[in-house]
Subunit: 457 residues, 2 copies
């Protein structure tokens, strides 16, 4: 059972009206999420409502669906109230009709009625949970048509631009996220295990009656980009990388990364690399503003990394040529950032190509750029992350060197002196405003000195 | 990614041999679980392997399947090693072939090969996750046959009887579970919120590099049987009910409940009701032994509750007649307990009727008994919970009284003086042995005095 948070009912009414203005050719089916069984049907993971359902319908309960009918200008909620037998197990529940009124929906019908309202023309979104696919099969037929790209684009253009009330929630989520990071940076000690820090981060979230927006990366092996192993012991001279975020009751997310030394101060090379990543972060922050292609910000931030690594002697040659050739991908393999909102990767379930790209800029298939989730022009109201990093991945170095890749730009002998380096990433969240951008939440230091101060160094 | 725990490879080989002895008519398909997306495909809940897959194949990783072929006496593991591109994201992975050897499986094939091995005759288990259903549809066809009841019974008869090495793991899980309960009982204070105790319980589990075996019930409203709301503040005179368990790395579970006063001591009526529940718990513990119907133990424990409530003046008449009439279900609505093992409700995904009942005893449809998950005869090696309770559910009292139910046995006027009582449950875990039963783990006190001592009373 999710927590119940509601914006004023007018917010939901106006969101649905906007959607109908943008997409009025067909009726729209929005499927809420179901409880998800872990190892049997009734042993559940924490319930998470579908974000699009939450955005337009707002009710944070399982087993709901909605039809928005542009022709009739009507929204119908489908769902079933708990029977008296169920109440023994669940306790008294607020009737659906009452919840529907909170989001400005008048008409509530039993879930079983949904089948009578869906037809072959009904537009729906891509199913990202297998339960959605089964439901769509039973409602629409086994041979599913493609989800409606027009509907996706209508919703995307609306959800991308955050309203004032959404920004308030995002500020809350990011402020809590920053506090969680500060707590972890201050608490880590040599001899601890990564899972003990995960435990502290979990306690921080739960003590605030909040949840994580995604399973955290908490690792002394930051070079493993999506590391969900927490079994390593923190040793002196290790670098810790912590990528974690809070989701507040409204469903809005924070997403931050800090990298810090297990010692109280960075080693000389750790600080050098840290400052190169920081220069990439700062360059991106400076460039993020309306009408700029996020892909270009990504590439400028890659350039900052290459310039720093040339100065350090790990790379060589002309920095712009190196970026054009993709030589930086030996060190910075992922994208600079992504949209954020109700989802930590906002609307990723609609498909990255439709969300992060458009006619003007299409997704690259090249190593590095293919992992950039967002390439198109920024607009006022977009919420984005900026998260450059440098990662020393021994298998990748071996692969690149064996294939003779980028020998004009990479000093392999220098790099290989540091194969145990690990990885560094710095990440914060920003809203694009007319004059550029504003960092969300109460900022946590990104300076190497500031990090060392939190570590007691 | 799950934690990797392995029994010796001989254990898995011998388990599969036993299965082939019991079921050799068709080849057997075991589907492992997939990562489960929360709000988009790549934002995952914690991975939990399917318990049957874990039991026979032992590898705690997503996207695997196995075919056990009784005719050839062969097991094939289907799965794909991470590509070099994947290794950038996941870090170096142990090759599947190496993991397969740890569980005595020689043959490993790419997942895509599975379709060539499954045929219309292949036996499979009921899909409890929607992803299983989609996979079976694509492997076997949209019109799924019934899962194989013979296969379920063969597996059930094997998984029900725990081996020595399994009991060792269960002892570990229950000992940690008891320690978690002791921590919570000692930590609760008036003014705290339920979610802060959930946070402490989570920290206890994560600090031991373990997880919960199910989302906990942590509530001042114990009368709501499956309460997953944690928003109430603990007030003096409240009763807390905490039902929670640990799952250790091997996947084995603990499941315990304690009820305790938010004050340092029980009130007089709280202690009276507590001791009635305790008498039901003790009667069940005394009776639990091989060849006894668990349904009869349930009913004897209901009798203890009725006897106690008659003495208290909440019930009246002949206790046995009251139980036969089902009058106790106003206070004790659920079943006495269930099988436990790799699943907290062991093998519930196979269907309760096939797991808890048989030709000798079938499941009742009556209120109360219909919630009893286990009715059949106990056998040496079964692991069960014993968890009687008394719950004052205002809506149920109103319903029973309005319908004039059990007026010969219930003193409604007495009961209604205590509509705000809440609920009490006491639960521990036991393995059935030849001479009766043995409690699993290091026991935590169940005596009212002992609970008060932990509360500092």
């Amino acid at each position: 059972m999710g927590k119940q948070f509601f914006f004023p009912s007018d917010s939901y009414i106006s969101r649905r009206e906007t959607l109908i203005e943008k997409f009025n050719s067909k009726q729209i089916l929005l499927l809420g999420n179901e409880e998800a069984g872990i190892n049997f049907a009734d042993n559940w993971y924490r319930f998470r409502q579908d974000s699009t359902f939450l955005y337009y319908i707002g009710i944070n309960l399982p087993s709901l669906a909605a039809i928005i009918d542009p022709a009739k200008g009507e929204t119908i909620l489908f769902g079933d109230d708990a029977s008296i037998d169920m109440v023994v197990w669940t306790g008294p529940q607020t009737p659906l009709q009452e919840l529907a009124e909170k989001v400005g929906v008048q008409k509530v019908l039993p879930y079983a009625e949904l089948a009578n309202y869906v037809n072959q023309d009904t537009a729906y979104l891509p199913p990202y949970r297998p339960e959605h696919q089964l439901k769509l099969q039973s409602l629409i037929g086994v041979e599913l048509r493609q989800p409606s790209a027009e509907l996706i684009l209508a919703i995307e253009s609306q959800r991308s631009v955050k309203s004032y009330e959404e920004i308030e929630e995002l500020d809350k989520a990011v402020t809590l996220t920053a506090q969680m990071h500060e707590h972890i940076i201050k608490s880590a000690k040599p001899g601890m295990y990564e899972y003990q820090l995960v435990s502290l981060a979990s306690k921080f979230a739960l003590d605030h009656n909040a949840n994580w927006s995604f399973p955290p990366i908490m690792t002394t092996h930051g070079e493993t980009l999506h590391n969900h192993n927490y079994s390593n012991q923190l040793k002196e001279n290790d670098l810790m990388l912590y990528d974690g975020g809070i989701e507040v009751a409204s469903g809005y997310c924070g997403d931050m990364t800090r990298s810090f030394p297990v010692n109280s101060t960075f080693s000389s090379i750790q600080k050098d690399i840290y400052n190169i990543v920081l220069s990439a972060y700062k360059r991106a922050k400076l460039l993020a503003q309306p009408e700029v292609l996020y892909r270009d910000i990504h590439l400028k931030s890659c350039l900052a990394i290459v310039e720093g690594l040339i100065e350090l002697g790990w790379m060589k040659g002309n920095a712009e040529d190196a970026v054009n050739a993709g030589a930086h991908t030996l060190f910075f393999q992922h994208g600079l950032g992504h949209l954020m909102g109700l989802d930590v990767h906002d609307m990723e379930n609609f498909g990255e190509e439709l969300i992060g790209y458009n006619n003007e800029v299409s997704k690259s298939k090249e190593f590095g750029l293919k992992s950039l989730r967002l390439g198109k022009k920024l607009q006022t109201g977009y919420v984005i992350t900026i998260e450059p990093g440098i990662y020393i991945i021994p298998m990748l170095i071996e692969k690149f060197e064996t294939k003779g890749r980028h020998t004009d730009f990479i000093n392999y002998d220098e790099v290989k002196k540091h194969v145990d380096f690990g990885g560094i990433r710095i990440e914060d969240d920003f809203v694009i405003i007319e004059s550029g951008n504003r960092q969300l939440g109460n900022p946590l230091t990104v300076e190497a000195d500031g990090i060392e101060e939190l570590r007691g160094g």
